[in-house]
Structures are given as C-alpha cells and as structure tokens.
Subunit: 332 residues, 2 copies
Amino acid sequence: MTYNIGVDINGSDNGPKTIIDGALAAINLNEDIIVTFFGDEKEIKDYLSDRYDKKRIRIVHAPDVISNYDSPTEAVRQKKESSVVKAMEYLAAKDADAVVSAGSTGAVLTAATLIARRIPGVKRPALAPIFPTIKGPMLLIDCGANNDCRPEFLEQFAVMGSLYMKHLFCIDNPRVALINNGAEPGKGNALTKEAYKLIEKLPINFVGNIEPRYILDGNADVAVCDGFIGNMVLKTTEGVAKTLFTIMKKEFTSSFKTKMGALLLKSSLKNIKSMLDYTEHGGAILLGINGGVIKGHGSSDPKSIQICVTQARDFAKSGIINDIKQDLADIK
Amino acid sequence: MTYNIGVDINGSDNGPKTIIDGALAAINLNEDIIVTFFGDEKEIKDYLSDRYDKKRIRIVHAPDVISNYDSPTEAVRQKKESSVVKAMEYLAAKDADAVVSAGSTGAVLTAATLIARRIPGVKRPALAPIFPTIKGPMLLIDCGANNDCRPEFLEQFAVMGSLYMKHLFCIDNPRVALINNGAEPGKGNALTKEAYKLIEKLPINFVGNIEPRYILDGNADVAVCDGFIGNMVLKTTEGVAKTLFTIMKKEFTSSFKTKMGALLLKSSLKNIKSMLDYTEHGGAILLGINGGVIKGHGSSDPKSIQICVTQARDFAKSGIINDIKQDLADIK
C-alpha cells in the first residue's frame, strides 16, 4: 500500500527548493510514499528536471501563495489557487492521504478547518509540536491554534494527544499532564482548575499537573495547555536556548584559553544544540482535522521536511482519526 | 536618615541563620539601614550573640511559622503570632519602613494585602521579580499574584512597573512591553488584545508587544503580563537554564578531552550561570501594597537576602508609593 502525501512547496524561509528536496528524500527512503506537489507547475517541473518520476510524483498547479502578511481568513477565501488551499481540497476529497505545509500557521489552520474540516465531535483542532525532553519526545498540545480555551477544549486535547503518542510513538499508555503553575490539584487559573477536574475523569493515564520548570525532565508524554500558554512555553524555551548559545559563543571566543576549551567541547556543544532543536522532531500535527495535516517550521531544511513527510505517512497509516471520533463520542 | 527594614527570619530553605546573616551584612554595608527581626526571640538572640547591636537591631518575638503547606488565608487569619503577620502589622503601623520575607508566596501576599493593605486606587497588587536579560535587568509584572486578570489590572501593572524601574533603577523613561504571542498590535488572546488598547493610551513609554522568544534580548525594561503567564515565562526560563546546565555537565564530563575543555571554560561557564541567576538581582517586589514588601526567593543565600534588604531600603527611600497613588488616579 502506498500513501500519497500532499506537499505545499511554499512557506519555507529557504524557498520551494528546500521543500522539494526534502520530499524527494522522503520518497527515495520510503517505498510506500508518493508525493503530490502543490505550487507553480513550471517552477516545480524545472527544478525536478530529470528527477521527475511520474509514477511517484504528481504536480498540481497552484500558482498563488499565501504569506505571513496576509489575513488568513480572507486569503483562504480569496486565493483559491493558492498551494495551501489546493492541498486542503485534495485532502478533503481523499485525493491526498495527508498534507505537509510549512506555510503561515494561520493560513494552514484556517484552510484545514474550512476545507478539510474537523473530525465529527471535535470542538477545536489543536496545533501540537513535539517538544524534546531529556528522556525523549513529548507532545505539547495546544501550541497556538486556540488562544482562548474553554475547559472542554483542553479535555479533548488530552484525549487526542494521548491517542497521537500511542499511535505515532507506540507508547502503550501515554502519561498525560496538564501544564500548570503548581503540582497540587487545586492550583492554577480558572481554566486549568476546571480542566483538571475534567481530565482526571478521562480513561487516560493522567499524571496530574506539570510545572514548566520541570517540562524538559521528560516526566510526561503529552503536556496539555491552551494555545496561548503553549506558545509562551515553546517560545520561551526557544528564546532561552538561543540566548544561552549566543552568550556561550561570546564567552567561549573571548580568549585563546576559552577558544581552546570550546574546540575540545565542539562535538558536545553540537549534541546539546541538536537535542534542543525541535525541528529535528518533524512538524507540528494539527490534531482534530479530518485528515493528517503537518505544519512544518518556516525555517525547515530538507531534512526536517523529509521527517514531516514520513510523519504525514505515519499519521495516514495509523487509523488515529477513527479512534479520535470514537473516544470523543465516549466522553460526551 | 535611617530606614528600618523588617526582616522575617522564616521561609528560607537554608534556615533562619541565612536570613539573619544576610540582614547583618546589609547593616554592616549601609549606615542608613537598621533591621527589625521577626521570629523566635531566643533563637535570634542566641544566634546573634555578641553581634546583637541594639542601636541597629530590634527583635520582635513572633514564634509562629507559616509554611508552604499552610493555606495562606487561613494561616494568616489564625497564626497571629507568626513572623510574617507580625512584620506586616509593623509595616501597616509604619513601625517598619519596608519588609523582607522569603516565606510562602501565598502567605506574604495574603498578609500584605489583608494587613498592610493596598495603595488607594490599586485594583490588584502584583508580584514583580527582576528578570536578567543580556542588556540588563527587566521587571516582570505580574509573576504569580493574580492568576486571572482583567485588562485593567494589566493597565495598572504597566503604570506601577514603569514607576518602579524609574525610581529604583533610575531609568528615565522605562520601555514597557506587553508579553504576547506576536509582535503586531492585533495579536493575542482576549486579555492581551484588550490590555494592549488600554496600555497604548497611557502616558508611559509603551513599546508594544514582546514575544517570549526575545524576552532575554533586553529590549524592554518592564514586561507586563497576567500572573499565570508570568509564572510560565519565569519558570520555563529557570527550567531550560537548569536543564541545559545539567546536560552540559553530563556532556562535559563524558571524556578526558571534554573534561579538559570544561576546565579551560570554567570561569566562562560560571559567568553565564551567574548572568541567568535572578536571585542575584534581589527579591520580587510586591507592587501595589501600601508599603515596601520584598519577597525573597526560598533558596536565598545571605548575599541575596542582603540585596533584598537594600532593595527594601531603596523602595522606602524612593517615594514611589505617592507616585503610584497619583498616576493611577490620573488614568481613572
């Protein structure tokens, strides 16, 4: 059986070639993947040139581009020929098994919700990246799709996140935690207090609150929060890591002695940087959409696009959508 | 003129001796500081022994202790002889010019609000620590006093934070930013969108939204947010820094080569760690209380308590309370 992954060639800071290269790497490494590129047909054909294997590559002409500067809702409604809109139409029609886009988060979200639509029973789709911890990958859900949440949204995120880690990471009974400002059950703001009460009743492995201080320790497989908080936690982590490496670089190049020291630690420093780089863990999954939608990072390189494409294949293969439908119906 | 700083001897993970030592260092270094210790009288006297200079040290017997395990409101109401309650009584009666406590945040907040009370016009007091950035100190307000905020609370935090950085850090026109999930004015959740509209009308130097990714870059002197978000940002920063140092230690001691490298970088690594250690920047100020209340970190060492005591003196000296009263009245 093969999986047909729709790939939006637009949205990468590094240009369409990066995305095409990444997708080609994915089909070369995985016999069960075929790819449908969405973008300017001539541009794609010219770049593919003799690598255009028609058995495994389809091209859908979609000349329009939605950028980060467009208003997502307007752009999705008006730019019918944009790569992200076309890709979602194929997903909705089951002409693609899953879609990868590194485009504007707002546009991907809006196009997915308006065109591919939600799984029946899902109140809000959530954007969920994999967050690296010292013990392995953790799903952070939601991370920006919903800035204002009701407790029932977080309840559903817990169910969907648990199913994702079970299906995609083969974790038997994923540990689901609620991001909060204290470990004890009564802690939190109005939202997390209510969400706690709903989540603890779910038939999942709820391990209670997790404080962001301990988030990298790897004591949860799924961390649930509203999209605003998720964005804060993710972006603070990124910022602190980036700043630390900047300071280190400055300190480590300040004298001959420190330069020698840094040289001896070169591979160690590379390991640490790579451990914290969440783009190496693929894209963010848009959970709750009636089809697999993987949002790649804008700064993706071919390697991370390749990972996104295999992640999309794994999602399509998993049957998770039926499980989400079933499990959400059970808790209603 | 001398300033009488009330010091709660309880609450430090390292015991009362740490706090007493820190306060003694402060009076030894600053002629204008005298200290009133609140705690078990015998314990204080025994430990002070021949360092008990009655001209500059007063002792108020307050044998009860409120711990992190007590419910703040109940404990403050019932434990009338606790060190934190007694200290706030002295502050309310102007028998202390400002108070330092490293005790339970909830108890300090509750005792301050119930006993020393708010500045007239203040809707909610806010807990504001100094956050280290690569360009210098930044005030993070609120950081845990108010988990659920209305936009008007954030508006007041912006005013109070700006005044604090002006008075205490001699910054002429402090740059005040709103922590948000995007730089553009329309970004955010319901709270930050509304707060933006209020803050931009204030007669302060509002520089717009700041994303947590750039929070350590030092482009703001005051970062405004609700207490839940502030807690997330502060604790994520702490957690990432701690985890990074743990990983570095592991990586750097993995072979003879890396151990040599780490040895050459020893002082650089120490500099970096110290730059990120916000306990070196004193305690968190409880802004909006009718008197200076400095909340020291539970893990404070004598040095950080010494800084808290001078910070309390600076607060008492500054006349900021009148300015807060005036400026909040102006925006009503």
